[in-house]
């Protein structure tokens, strides 16, 4: 791979700092995160050809992940970074692993799999160079967020991902996370009712729904505005053409018309860069659209945990009750066994002993179970991370809105310039 035209990671980080607005000096202070010790970036993207799982030819994109020890950078040593190629599906695998392994963490999202909220000119094709470039930035952002997270950054699998090109997948599968992933998926999509829901988590879940809904509405509306704005600018290009033709037949007006026409062409062309810039803003919003999903998952996980705890507790209570009834002979609750006993006579004492013993074992198991399924730990860890997430979100989105304002200002300045130039030309008419 060519490295001649690649920007240094530092340059890249600076260029796309809007995407990394979560990674501030403050964040780097928190814990000894990976990012403090290692510089990470996704430097390039390349097309590859290969065979897929059903042995068909396919074209896919790979991304170059570069790492360099931080002390080397600090000392100004121009050390070449370590690098390896990863494709999008490997990033997905890493993220799925993290989701399963850290269910109480709001795991940073990946850039979108397919281009959504497109306005008409933007290609929805995954192979489109603009899409690939924005995805590269998004993947880098993902790694930086994970590597700066106080909990996630210490994960061994993450380290492997960054350093070991081959055999990484095997290591991940060996953790056996896949089984947990499947059951997690099933559980999260199941419907169940919790007896004593935690109000804070319910509110947070409600908030995540709101966040998802609002960001997607905003993104949709923005795309439509972009589409229309594109139309307005481009139509002015027609002035360019007509003025040019018209100027040829005029004497006094000719020069003024001709040059005004050129400015109209320039005006029409200027919208391309403006809207490309705005896509980065859209990407920042999309990140939080997907973050909302991750937040929701943490809340759902909590619900599930609570539910399982309640189920286990209930089981235990029921077993204990059965045990009591069996040992004392007093039937408190209706049971079929009790009825049949009454009708057909009681069982033999050996059988009764056996059943009592069984119940005692079950109770012991059940008590262990309840211990395990205790919700407090999840609650505590989740709550810490959700708070961290909230602060990060407020900061990032505020920066994003500021960026948006800066873009608008830039667009206005260009407009002023273009139309002032046109005005000068009209004066010459």
């Amino acid at each position: 791979s060519q490295s001649a035209n690649v920007m240094s990671p530092r340059e890249l980080s600076l260029r796309f700092l809007p995407m990394l607005c979560g990674v501030t000096a403050q964040m780097l202070e928190e814990g000894s995160t990976l990012l403090r010790r290692m510089e990470i970036c996704v430097a390039e993207a390349e097309k590859r050809n290969g065979k897929n799982t059903v042995n068909m030819q396919e074209t896919f994109t790979v991304y170059l992940v570069e790492t360099r020890p931080m002390d080397a950078v600090a000392e100004g040593r121009n050390q070449a970074p370590d690098s390896l190629w990863r494709r999008y599906s490997e990033f997905e695998l890493l993220r799925n692993y993290l989701l399963v392994t850290y269910p109480y963490i709001v795991v940073p999202p990946l850039p979108e799999k397919r281009a959504e909220f497109v306005w008409h000119k933007l290609s929805a094709d995954n192979m489109d160079p603009d899409f690939v470039e924005r995805r590269r930035v998004g993947l880098e952002n993902f790694l930086l967020r994970v590597a700066s997270h106080p909990v996630l950054s210490n994960d061994k699998i993450l380290h492997h991902f960054l350093i070991e090109e081959h055999g990484w997948k095997e290591v991940v599968y060996e953790t056996g996370f896949q089984a947990k992933a499947d059951s997690r998926l099933r559980a999260l999509s199941a419907t169940f009712r919790v007896r004593n829901p935690d109000k804070r988590f319910m509110e947070m879940k409600h908030y995540s729904d709101e966040l998802q809904s609002h960001t997607s509405q905003l993104l949709r509306a923005r795309a439509r505005v972009a589409d229309r704005l594109y139309g307005v600018y481009k139509v002015h290009g027609n002035y360019g053409r007509v003025f040019s033709e018209w100027s040829a037949m005029e004497k006094e007006m000719g020069d003024g018309l001709q040059s005004a026409g050129h400015h109209m062409d320039a005006y029409a062309a200027s919208i391309d860069d403006i809207l490309e810039e705005e896509e980065h803003y859209a990407d920042q919003l999309k990140e939080y659209l997907f973050y909302a999903e991750a937040l929701r998952a943490v809340c759902r996980k909590h619900e599930l945990t609570q539910f399982e705890f309640e189920m286990a507790s209930q089981e235990l209570v029921s077993k204990k009750q059965q045990h009591e009834e069996l040992s004392t002979g007093i039937v408190r609750t209706f049971s079929f066994k009790g009825m049949t006993n009454k009708l057909f006579g009681q069982e033999a004492p050996e059988q009764r002993e056996a059943r009592l013993k069984l119940l005692e074992d079950l109770i012991a198991e059940g008590e262990e179970d309840v211990q395990e399924k205790t919700v407090e730990e999840h609650v505590e860890r989740a709550w810490v991370d959700m708070h961290r997430f909230k602060e990060q979100k407020d900061k990032d989105l505020r920066e994003a809105l500021i960026n948006y304002a800066v873009m608008q200002i830039s667009m206005c300045k260009k407009g002023i310039q273009m139309w002032s130039n046109a005005k000068e030309c009209f004066l010459k008419m």
């Binding site: 403050q26 960001t215 960026n403």
Partner: protein, 434 residues
């Protein structure tokens, strides 16, 4: 000027009368046919021709530079609905203030309806067939505005009628037309309309004129051929510019519609946020304010650029008609000339006729020549002013929006959240633009 009128090519006007859904004009003209004498021979046409008038025209055209001090001010306003047994129509108030000696008073106020303007214009064209008379607004707009009395339509028409009268008043020759004076001053226009050759006589002229044009021109002087070419090209270009402008406005309206949906998404989001609510509402407000500016800009374009362009689109029809009439005058002369060459008898009187027609051709050409450069200057000036105004408004639009976003930025920089204690400032926060 006397009540006698100069016969001219009415082919254009014939169509106007047919299309006119204003019944009154039609019925009036048939009654005209009964009352007035109809000149229907070429010789009588010639006898009505007034050479002095044409010479005056030439002189005045050459003096057109001196006519810059305005001594007559006309306004058209106050459109009001008038209802009669037969129909409903709009009357406009035409107010004139002048210091001209020819006018008995210095102030006049009359009521006129659209067809009165049509009458005035046709009289002016009759009298000065090769002068470029500013067009009137159209009878109706094809675009789907079916209602004649829609307020926007009336206002647009009023403005165009106002411009029409002012254009006439600025013309060094037309402004001194007796018909013009009558239009501005007579309380009762009807009696004046009844004078002059009637409907059927005008029909006769038209038929002759069409016959002449069918025969064709032997040789058009090059300057008028070039003029003809220019008129063709200009017609295409101005039509295109008009179309592009309409399209731009359409796109801008659609953009504005989307903007109006866009700003609430920020405000709605703000409702579920705490820290973020303030900047989100800030952005919502910015987008809303920019929408207002956009609305104003669209309005400006519709009020200034669109009417100006549209008028010149209509002008091209006028120009084409003027070119046709000039050609016909030449054709008539050539026809008579040919007749002169072949006939033995009537040599003397024919010769007089031919000489008369030759003079007529010369004067018509001179009139057109002079008015042509006047028209071109006027066109350049009008369109330049309209484009300038549009460009200025666009600059203004962007400047307003710039101020809106800059004040938002300022509000965000100044505000220190509790979490922000300056340690997060050092990193650059905006993408490197330019």
């Amino acid at each position: 000027m006397s009540g006698q009128t100069f016969p001219a090519d009415f082919s254009g006007h014939m169509l106007d009368l047919d299309e006119d859904d204003d019944l009154e004009v039609f019925s009036k003209n048939t009654s005209l046919a009964d009352s007035s004498p109809m000149p229907n021979s070429p010789s009588s046409m010639v006898n009505q021709y007034r050479p002095e008038e044409e010479e005056e025209e030439e002189e005045q055209l050459q003096q057109q530079q001196g006519a810059n001090d305005k001594d007559i001010f006309i306004t058209v306003d106050n459109p009001e609905s008038h209802v009669t047994a037969i129909e409903t129509f709009i009357m406009y108030r035409v107010e004139t203030k002048t210091t001209r000696g020819e006018y008995d008073s210095s102030e006049y106020e009359v009521l006129r309806r659209y067809q009165d303007f049509v009458w005035l214009r046709s009289k002016l064209e009759e009298t000065h067939p090769t002068l470029i008379v500013h067009p009137l607004p159209e009878k109706f707009v094809m675009k789907g505005m079916v209602e004649r009395f829609n307020n926007d339509f009336i206002e647009t028409r009023r403005k165009a009628l106002h411009r029409f009268l002012n254009k006439i008043s600025e013309h060094p020759i037309l402004s001194y037309s007796q018909h013009f004076k009558v239009f501005l001053t007579a309380q009762e226009l009807l009696s004046h309309k009844k004078q002059g050759p009637g409907f059927l006589s005008r029909m006769g002229e038209t038929v002759r004129a069409v016959a002449n044009s069918v025969r064709g021109l032997r040789s058009r002087p090059e300057e008028f051929s070039l003029m003809q070419e220019y008129v063709e090209d200009f017609s295409n270009k101005i039509y295109s510019v008009d179309k592009v402008t309409q399209r731009i406005i359409k796109e801008q309206r659609e953009y504005l519609d989307e903007l109006k949906q866009y700003s609430p998404t920020y405000a709605q989001w703000a409702e579920s946020e705490e820290e973020l609510a303030e900047p989100l509402n800030g952005v919502a407000s910015c987008v809303e304010r920019c929408s207002k500016e956009s609305d104003e800009q669209i309005h400006h374009m519709s009020e200034v650029l669109v009417p100006a362009l549209h008028e010149y689109v209509l002008c091209t029809e006028t120009l084409k008609a003027v070119m046709r009439r000039r050609d016909n005058i030449q054709a008539e002369f050539e026809a008579k000339n040919v007749a002169l060459a072949s006939r033995r008898a009537d040599q003397e009187s024919l010769q007089d006729e031919v000489d008369g027609l030759a003079d007529r051709v010369e004067l018509a050409n001179n009139a057109l020549r002079g008015d042509w450069s006047r028209w071109q200057n006027g066109m350049r000036s009008d369109l330049k002013s309209a484009f300038l105004s549009t460009a200025e408004k666009n600059v203004d639009y962007y400047e307003q929006c710039l101020a809106v976003w800059e004040s938002f930025l300022l509000s965000q920089r100044v505000e220190p959240g509790e979490q922000r204690d300056g340690e997060d400032e050092p990193l650059p926060t905006h993408p490197i633009i330019d």
